[in-house]
């Protein structure tokens, strides 16, 4: 059976660490960097559990700063 596998990239400098993508993700993929910050001082989002990502785009859709790009492949 074909399995969908996804991944996201976060524009770390554009991200303001608002956490909305983390909340929106149905698969608990994303988290905010616990320590690291960007140039503006925000704890930006990152894929904490990339293996769970299905590329559903939920995180990107609710992102107010349009900093998430989503990729998706079908794995046979």
């Amino acid at each position: 059976m074909a399995k969908i596998q996804g991944a996201v990239t976060v524009n770390e400098e554009r991200c303001k660490g608002c956490d909305l993508c983390v909340v929106a993700c149905p698969c608990d993929v994303l988290a905010l960097q616990p320590k690291e910050v960007n140039n503006r001082g925000y704890h930006f989002a990152y894929m904490a559990r990339p293996e769970r990502c299905t590329g559903c785009t939920s995180c990107a859709m609710v992102c107010p700063d349009a900093c998430i790009e989503v990729y998706r492949v079908k794995v046979e």
Partner: protein, 253 residues
């Protein structure tokens, strides 16, 4: 499969719309404005209307929308965006003309322009961000502020005897003969974002087709003004804003 095998151009299914440039937006983290800006850019791009679109920015947080979306813009005096849009559309009827306004701009100082542009049936789309507070000036009471809601000018909560009732604009506009489409949306979940995008598209199509005035109210959060985290603000909006400003189409003719 390795991440670098997935993250390839041919596998990209979502990205920032091209019309939204890379300027860093001045909005607070988690602000609804960013999502709605993105939807405006996406819809214009998908409709292929970037060369015909003319947007009118308000006074308020969205005053700088013109810095983020690469179309032609006019920055309005506080509240006057619908008057400006009316003139632009009448003078250039082939253009897609829309305003982007907040609740103070549209529902307080600009109430007259809003109602009269809608009532004249101007072929414009009005995008109305209702977050029940003045964001840019530092969180004062808006006409749409809920009873009991604390703001900088209602520090003990909005009181009817002092401040009157929250103003619900969409039903007023829905009752006017000049409007063709009046809807309330939100952008707090992926499903809501999809619906809001469809609503903006419909409003833009109405402007191009000359069907009359469209209002897309987006019930939004102002987490800074509300003094909540973005996620808490979404919950507060669901619990408190939606009962007063219920989502859905009020008019679609």
């Amino acid at each position: 499969m390795e991440l670098n095998e997935i993250i390839r151009p041919e596998n990209k299914v979502y990205a920032k719309p091209r019309l939204m440039n890379s300027n860093h937006m001045h909005y607070c983290p988690g602000c609804s404005h960013g999502v709605v800006h993105k939807l405006v850019a996406e819809v214009l791009e998908e409709m292929g209307q970037e060369e015909t679109a003319i947007g009118i920015t308000p006074v308020g947080c969205a005053v700088f929308a013109y810095n983020y979306i690469d179309i032609d813009w006019i920055e309005a005096a506080h509240g006057r965006a619908p008057a400006i849009a009316s003139a632009v559309k009448r003078l250039q009827p082939d253009k897609l003309v829309f305003t982007y306004q907040g609740d103070g701009d549209l529902a307080a100082i600009g109430t007259a322009e809003t109602i009269h542009a809608a009532n004249r049936g101007e072929n414009i789309a009005i995008i109305f961000i209702n977050n029940a507070i003045y964001g840019m000036t530092g969180g004062q009471m808006a006409p749409t502020t809920l009873l009991g809601q604390k703001t900088a000018t209602t520090p003990y909560g909005r009181r009817v005897d002092l401040n009157g009732y929250p103003l619900s604009i969409a039903p007023i506009l829905a009752g006017l003969d000049g409007t063709c489409y009046v809807t309330r949306q939100s952008v707090h979940t992926p499903a809501a974002v999809r619906k809001a995008k469809a609503a903006i598209r419909k409003a833009f199509e109405n402007s191009l087709a000359g069907r009359g005035c469209s209002l897309v109210e987006v019930v939004s959060t102002c987490n800074s003004g509300w003094k909540l985290s973005p996620a808490e603000a979404n919950r507060w909006m669901i619990e408190n804003m939606f009962p007063k400003y219920p989502l859905g189409d009020l008019k679609n003719v």
